[in-house]
């Protein structure tokens, strides 16, 4: 074996392993919490905010940075909205669970 590993192969490795983890973790989620699961995954997919921040990174403003800033705003709605609404829902489950 010679030469460096292509980043694509490294990405693919991480991707496949992450799917396995997701598969096993999500099957353990209790059905009663499926709606909070969707809300919190909404917040987690707001991780696209990292990509958006990198797009808005360059100092000189151009189309790309503006698109990036718009994407940051959209993703921030998801991150904040998702986590907070999940918290609100889970608090409701707390009341009855004691």
């Amino acid at each position: 074996m010679t030469g460096a590993v292509d980043p694509f192969v490294m990405n693919l490795t991480v991707f496949v392993l992450a799917i396995f983890i997701g598969y096993h973790v999500v099957w353990n989620v209790t059905p009663a919490l499926h709606t909070p699961l969707m809300a919190v995954t909404n917040a987690v997919s707001g991780i696209i905010i990292v990509g958006a921040m990198l797009a808005a990174k360059p100092q000189e403003m151009d189309v790309g940075t503006i698109l990036g800033l718009i994407a940051v705003t959209l993703a921030a709605i998801n991150v904040f909205g998702g986590f907070l609404v999940t918290q609100r829902m889970l608090a409701m489950f707390k009341k009855k669970g004691k």
């Binding site: 980043p7 694509f8 990405n11 991707f15 992450a18 983890i21 997701g22 973790v25 999500v26 353990n28 209790t30 059905p31 009663a32 919490l33 499926h34 709606t35 909070p36 969707m38 809300a39 919190v40 995954t41 909404n42 917040a43 987690v44 997919s45 991780i47 696209i48 905010i49 990292v50 990509g51 958006a52 921040m53 990198l54 797009a55 808005a56 990174k57 360059p58 100092q59 151009d62 790309g64 698109l67 994407a71 959209l74 921030a76 709605i77 998801n78 991150v79 909205g81 986590f83 907070l84 609404v85 999940t86 918290q87 609100r88 829902m89 889970l90 409701m92 489950f93 009855k96 669970g97």
Partner: protein
């Protein structure tokens, strides 16, 4: 920060996201899980912030988006959760498309091309995939949002040659994707994005209201894959991990929902129940008789029962009757009646919809039971109150091999001693099927708005 420490911080965030989902295995650990998620996201954002030059503008964008998100999260009614979730999927989809465009605009800034050169060829494929998944998620979720919030008709919209048109568009999109791969320029990129946007609309339009649990789960999954696709483009492991977690979560939920309806995923995606179902129901011909009673009659029956099981459905959410129903069960419990709730996995418009509504009304957790656990107990139950549910209690799914819903797991309500059905009229449910449960000798129909009926029952019992 060095590249190594950035990636180590991303690793910590990724592990925290895994713990977030793991926490949801029980209501107690779930709140800690959600906290882990917030910390993970904060680590990811702060780490990335240290890499950028436009800190001020980015913080402003986060503040604006965050404020909108926080206000919506605080104000949203629990009955409107399906719409909110759909709307948020569309935002992820759009953000993915915008990031892909920005990456294509300036690949050097992302380190995915050398100065003066165009995008690496493997990055072109990843960019293409991230963009079209994001675009389909964006418009598809907008349509799902419209249907769920009642701004668009919940009825499936179908026309001749629909599948062929979709196939054609899919092939065209792929064609422009190949053109983009061969010579990366804006023209094929924008055309393929436009086609993907149109596909998102066309794919979701033909799917009807009660199939929404599958659609919402599927779009949830897509929003994750879109984020993962962008992660591939940017060679960012954390995006890949978080995206894959969300993607597999949505895929599993879609599978669970399909199984609870005994339908193949592609059958749902290719557009709902066909005309054959309604034709069959109409061809029945025989005038069947049913018994109807008042809220007072219902109150009398439940007040004198030892055990009552309540079966909530989408109608409960529409009538916002969750608080009233909890009041009713409190009154019944005080009279010594054992009250429980039976939840079908596809009751409502999204996975777990009923559980959240009942939680909001502070129904005690232990009274809410999933289908598999409670199905054996209907035979020993005095009174079942079906409120706003129809197809999920239709015995045809068990007895009638010719029924389109034959084989779908149902709540065995028909086994109970007495069945009360609160409904607005004798109209058929989503599947367009008549429900034999309504014509059984032991069944009494109570017509009216769910909330009003329940309030009248409370008055009559007390």
């Amino acid at each position: 920060m060095s590249a190594n420490s950035v990636y180590l911080a991303y690793l910590v965030a990724a592990v925290l996201f895994i713990l977030t989902l793991k926490g949801l295995s029980s209501p107690v650990s779930s709140r800690r899980g959600n906290m882990f998620g917030m910390i993970g996201m904060a680590i990811a954002v702060l780490t990335t912030l240290s890499l950028t030059h436009n800190v001020g503008l980015i913080l402003l964008a986060i503040a604006v988006g965050g404020a909108i998100g926080a206000i919506v999260a605080r104000r949203i009614e629990m009955t409107a959760m399906p719409e909110l979730v759909a709307a948020m999927h569309s935002l992820v989809g759009l953000a993915a498309v915008l990031v892909a465009m920005a990456a294509f605009n300036n690949p050097v800034a992302y380190g995915i091309a050398l100065a003066g050169e165009s995008l690496h060829s493997s990055n072109r494929i990843e960019l293409f995939i991230g963009t079209f998944v994001g675009a389909i998620t964006f418009t598809g979720s907008i349509i799902a949002f419209g249907k769920l919030s009642g701004k668009l008709s919940g009825k499936p919209l179908r026309f001749a040659g629909q599948h062929w048109l979709n196939l054609l568009l899919g092939i065209a999109m792929l064609g422009f994707g190949i053109a983009f791969f061969l010579s990366p320029s804006w023209t094929p990129f924008l055309i393929m994005t436009a086609i993907a946007l149109a596909l998102g609309v066309l794919l979701i339009m033909p799917i009807g209201g009660a199939d929404m649990p599958v659609v919402v789960s599927m779009l949830n999954s897509y929003s994750g894959w879109a984020a993962a696709g962008i992660g591939f483009t940017l060679n960012n492991n954390m995006l890949i991990i978080a995206g894959s977690l969300v993607g597999s979560s949505g895929a599993i939920l879609s599978y669970i929902m399909c199984k609870a309806m005994n339908r193949a995923f592609f059958n749902v995606i290719l557009g709902g129940f066909g005309g054959e179902a309604s034709a069959e129901a109409a061809g029945d011909g025989v005038q069947k008789t049913f018994r109807s009673g008042s809220a007072d009659d219902a109150a009398f029956l439940m007040g004198n029962a030892d055990s009552v099981i309540i079966v909530p459905g989408y109608g409960l959410a529409v009538a916002r009757a969750q608080h009233a129903i909890n009041e009713m069960s409190k009154v019944l419990t005080e009279k010594g009646v054992k009250v429980r709730y039976a939840i079908h996995p596809v009751a409502g418009r999204m996975p777990g919809h009923m559980n959240v509504l009942l939680a909001e009304a502070e129904v005690p957790y232990e009274q809410v039971v999933e289908m598999d656990e409670i199905n054996n107990e209907f035979a020993d139950t005095d009174v079942v109150l079906v409120i706003g549910a129809n197809d999920v209690v239709n015995p045809a799914a068990k007895n009638d091999k010719s029924s389109p819903i034959y084989g779908m797991p149902i709540l065995d309500v028909y086994k109970a001693r007495t069945v009360l059905v609160v409904k607005r009229s004798m109209a058929t449910g989503y599947a367009g099927l008549d429900n034999d449960l309504f014509y059984m000798d032991k069944t009494m129909m109570v017509f009216g708005d769910a909330k009003k009926v329940v309030e009248d029952i409370i008055k009559a019992i007390a």
